[in-house]
């Protein structure tokens, strides 16, 4: 496991300044959520952290003994499964062997689907496969870019339980981008509100697990939502 340090990070695409002055220290093993309006730079921030985009100013560092970029995995909003590989082979990519792939598939409860083609699965099942693929290589850091955005409410809740359970078991450093504030409060220890490329709110979530949607939960939700919507 390792953490992530962002110092004064800025990112621009041509004249478009997408991220500005981001100072963030993400400890190893923590669960952070990033919320914000569409287009505020959430995905870009995640891609910067994953090393898919270069920063234009400031610096990005991975903190920890054996920190390296190749131990970061992203789970994307779309499943990005390879249509020409069956489920098991989709997980056993990039040096993951079949045994580990099968274990990961077991964890997301889809072992009996291992020989199917991706297009034979439902949207929720595909995202579970994508999660299994992300887990199979035992990543140190797992970045989620709205992985549940396209799922229905019930499936989302299932997936949230699953993600929480797996994180508690393996304690990879997690960063979750979501537009669902309730999801952010449910899963994360810390919620960051991004607005026009800058950090607007950095909120610790001090609730026990498993989380109940009680008064305290709702007050966190309200506070964060106000920051996103309001001025």
């Amino acid at each position: 496991m390792f953490g992530i340090e962002l110092k004064n990070v800025g990112k621009r695409f041509g004249a478009n300044e997408v991220l500005r002055d981001i100072d963030l220290s993400i400890p190893k093993g923590s669960f952070t959520a990033i919320v914000g309006k569409s287009g505020c730079g959430k995905s870009t921030l995640l891609r910067v952290i994953a090393g898919l985009e270069e920063v234009t100013s400031g610096s990005l560092a991975y903190t920890g003994a054996e920190a390296k970029k190749s131990n970061i995995r992203i789970m994307f909003q779309d499943d990005r499964l390879l249509p020409w590989k069956n489920i098991l082979k989709n997980i056993a990519i990039g040096g993951v062997n079949k045994v580990d792939a099968e274990i990961a598939l077991e964890k997301v409860g889809l072992r009996d689907k291992k020989g199917d083609w991706p297009d034979e699965l439902s949207g929720g099942q595909k995202q579970r496969v994508a999660l299994a693929r992300a887990l199979a290589s035992s990543p140190d850091v797992l970045l989620f870019d709205e992985p549940l955005g396209a799922l229905d409410a019930l499936t989302r809740m299932d997936m949230q339980h699953l993600m929480e359970g797996l994180w508690q078991e393996q304690h990879f450093t997690s960063i979750l981008v979501t537009h669902d504030v309730s999801e952010a409060v449910y899963l994360a220890d810390r919620v960051i509100v991004l607005d026009e490329g800058g950090v607007k709110l950095d909120q610790e979530i001090d609730l026990g697990r498993p989380r109940e949607r009680d008064d305290k939960f709702t007050s966190y939700e309200k506070k964060i939502l106000d920051q996103i919507v309001g001025g």
Partner: protein
């Protein structure tokens, strides 16, 4: 129609594919069972589509027998079959078919390989694309059969002339389709592969090549058509063996039955190569639901 397709497909699957696929297909057919029964109209019989060609051939035979079609204009089907039998017995038929097929295969292989490699490198290396692609696109607009006079001057009428012509004809469709196929591979999948620790080679074999495969196969099927057309023309213009040679000499001696026979031979060979390409398509693209259901 659907039931015929399914029948043929099941047979094909049973002989061609592994266990997993068989199970899968059976599952699919099972779920569609109810629909199938409902659609089992009398014209869904497997043989029905063959009715029209059979009637036409019979009519042709009868009209020929009655002398309504002159044998010197168009020999009857039986006469054509007879001509084929005679040529087969002397061994001529096999010899010419063999030579033509050999030319087709060698030409296709050379042209296909060059086209594929060019498509591959131009599709993956931007520098090469900028350097080469425009030139190829320019040359490609020349109909390759227009090269015949030049080819004869260069190579005479020997084997190399024919193989060259086939290779040139085959190269471009394979190139264009391979190139486009690679260019159009979903960039998101490649990005995923990079994040998931794939090496360049793994990216190529796991994502780029299979992603481009549907296009490449379209190119191959098109190129197979081009192969036979190039060969027919090249062999008719100058050859000392091959189906085209058979046709030309038969024409000189007014052997109409052999002339018609050669046309039938080309048709059979063309159909056969298309069938092989189709089987390849079904095997290589079995992940694609469109190919699984047909």
């Amino acid at each position: 129609m659907q039931s015929i397709c399914l029948h043929i497909f099941v047979d094909l699957i049973e002989t061609e594919c592994g266990d997993e696929i068989q199970k899968l297909i059976k599952k699919f057919i099972h779920t569609k069972g109810a629909e199938r029964v409902k659609k089992d109209k009398w014209y869904n019989n497997q043989l029905f589509p063959w009715l029209l060609p059979i009637v036409v051939v019979l009519l042709w035979q009868v009209l020929g027998d009655r002398g309504l079609i002159k044998s010197t204009m168009l020999p009857t089907p039986l006469e054509v079959v007879e001509a084929g039998k005679n040529l087969f017995q002397t061994g001529e038929l096999q010899k010419h078919v063999y030579i033509s097929t050999e030319r087709a295969i060698i030409g296709f292989f050379i042209g296909g390989t060059i086209g594929f490699l060019l498509g591959l490198f131009n599709g993956t290396v931007l520098f090469l694309e900028k350097l080469i692609d425009t030139s190829i696109q320019m040359i490609r607009t020349i109909p390759h059969l227009a090269l015949i006079p030049l080819v004869i001057l260069w190579f005479g009428i020997g084997e190399s002339a024919k193989i060259f012509l086939v290779a040139v004809g085959v190269m471009f469709p394979i190139y264009i389709n391979t190139f486009n196929g690679i260019k159009n591979v979903d960039y998101k999948l490649i990005e995923m592969g990079k994040v998931y620790g794939m090496s360049k080679w793994q990216l190529f074999t796991n994502i780029i090549l299979p992603g481009a495969m549907p296009n490449i196969l379209v190119g191959i099927r098109y190129a197979l058509g081009v192969t036979w057309i190039s060969l027919i023309v090249a062999e008719t213009i100058g050859a000392d063996a091959g189906i085209g040679y058979l046709a030309t000499t038969a024409r000189e001696f007014m052997q109409m039955d052999i002339v018609v026979l050669t046309i039938v031979l080309y048709a059979i060979l063309g159909k056969l190569s298309d069938f092989i390409a189709k089987v390849c398509e079904q095997r290589l693209l079995k992940w694609n639901p469109a190919y699984r259901k047909n």
